[in-house]
């Protein structure tokens, strides 16, 4: 984006021009966000169906959902866990985020390192039949990939959401279900990941006999 205005003496005029440009920019980005979300949902339709079928089977068999990610993906993991565990409508299922407890996170980061943030919690909490769901806009977060590896060793179902067409997740042997967003922008990717995660929840609810 460029701002090639002449230097105006009248401050209100300059602010008015800036505000108009900002609004145009916001609208263009919103249209792009819609486009990435729609194309991601369409492109992942079959992947969503397969992942939801496997997740519903695990949940119906008593499995629990463990979500994780870093930064904005950590907050999205928390939102997804809350959606599964405490939905406004539909069936609640056991789900929580591994990125929410500062005592656990700082203990692991300080004593061992950030690469084990989620893997060590999978060791502590994961049981055969549980689900490990990780988010990474780059697809390459080392601690997310390590958690997938630990999860597979312990017989958990692994599900990943990623940008950059999958990134390192696309070639991760430990990942059973990948929901990729094919975009380079972290922000547009996070928005599309949220749409994919919500579509995943809706499909799982349908398997559970709910139509939220």
């Amino acid at each position: 984006m460029s701002f090639l205005y002449p230097m105006l003496d009248e401050r209100p005029v300059e602010a008015t021009a800036l505000l108009a440009d900002l609004a145009r920019s916001a609208q263009a980005k919103a249209v792009e966000s819609d486009r990435v979300r729609v194309s991601s949902l369409a492109g992942c339709a079959e992947r969503l169906d397969r992942a939801a079928t496997a997740m519903a089977a695990a949940l119906l068999a008593g499995g629990r959902l463990l979500c994780f990610g870093n930064g904005g993906s950590a907050t999205d993991a928390a939102g997804l866990a809350a959606l599964f565990a405490t939905p406004a409508s539909g069936s609640p299922v056991p789900a929580r985020s591994l990125a929410e407890d500062p005592a656990v996170l700082t203990a692991l980061a300080n004593d061992v390192g950030v690469d084990v943030l989620f893997a060590r919690q999978v060791i502590a909490h994961g049981r055969t039949g549980d689900i490990a769901l990780g988010l990474s806009t780059s697809g390459g977060s080392a601690n997310v990939l390590r958690a997938f590896a630990e999860a597979r060793r312990r017989g958990l179902l692994t599900v990943g959401l990623s940008g950059y067409g999958g990134g390192a997740m696309a070639t991760c042997d430990d990942l059973q279900h990948l929901l990729p967003v094919d975009d380079q922008s972290v922000h547009r990717t996070q928005e599309a990941q949220s749409a994919l995660a919500y579509a995943l929840w809706q499909r799982v609810q349908a398997h559970l006999g709910e139509t939220p």
Binding site: F3, R11, L19, K29, G79, V186, Y198, H207
Partner: protein, 260 residues
């Protein structure tokens, strides 16, 4: 089984009418407050992860080279008490939640007494006009909080605020000057407009109240008595009436009319 038909996002529509302009105006005010040293406080009693996502965008930008800015997510249940203790005049408070969230109504109603600019993000039934200084609202849609559109709104706010900061710096900071906001104090002694004050303590018929312009002592004769944290309409050294935070949020600037 059949797949659910309610896809969260089926068409490319962009922002609803007026929202792009609301975002632009909010971003400029946000940039001005941050430029002046203010802090962005973020809260979402119903969906705390959204507040944390807003804060982390500002503190640790995903785009290399963007400056880190002071934003804090408040996830405690003691929302009002935490903002009261931490926020300073010139700060901003961004809340995310439905129009009928009681914790949001309480903290937004008190914010004018603290000199804190407010932004309310949500979807569905829109809050009344004046409930917050800036309202960023999506149409009635139960999916918006989950399907990425709330995230889009605060991503855009972050992106536009940084444009303002960069452009404002290049313009010799004129754009970022507080006076340009058009929201400075009006002459209060000769108008019929009162101001909000929150009681900090009382003593023998007077109260020390916190206002946007700092602490001041007011006479309690007209209201009889007051308790700590009561919200008072203050005018010319007198407490005119007691108002509830929820009423301030519901009625906006109307409660400031002394003659009403």
């Amino acid at each position: 089984m059949t797949s659910p038909t309610a896809a969260p996002c089926e068409v490319v529509t962009g922002l609803p009418e007026g929202l792009a302009e609301d975002l632009a105006a909010t971003a400029l005010v946000l940039a001005r407050r941050l430029h002046a040293g203010g802090t962005l406080w973020c809260a979402s009693p119903a969906w705390p992860h959204h507040a944390q996502h807003v804060a982390v965008e500002f503190v640790h930008p995903v785009i290399v080279g963007k400056p880190a800015l002071p934003a804090v997510a408040i996830t405690t249940t003691a929302l009002t008490a935490t903002v009261r203790a931490n926020a300073r005049a010139g700060d901003l408070l961004l809340v995310i939640g439905p129009h009928d969230d009681e914790a949001i109504a309480d903290v937004l109603g008190r914010a004018p007494a603290w000199g804190v600019t407010t932004v309310w993000v949500g979807a569905g039934t829109r809050p009344s006009a004046g409930a917050a200084d800036h309202v960023l609202w999506l149409p009635d849609d139960a999916h918006a909080q989950h399907d990425g559109r709330f995230i889009l709104l605060y991503h855009l706010l972050w992106e536009l605020a940084h444009v303002c900061l960069e452009h404002g710096g290049a313009s010799g900071e004129g754009l970022l000057a507080p006076a340009a906001a058009g929201d400075g104090p009006v002459c209060i002694t000769c108008s019929d407009e009162g101001r909000l004050g929150e009681v900090e303590r009382t003593s023998a018929g007077t109260a020390r109240v916190r206002t946007a312009d700092g602490p001041e002592d007011v006479d309690l004769t007209l209201v009889g008595s007051a308790d700590r944290h009561d919200l008072l309409l203050v005018h010319a050294g007198m407490a005119i009436t007691r108002v509830s935070p929820a009423r301030v949020t519901a009625a906006g600037a109307e409660v400031l009319q002394v003659t009403s």
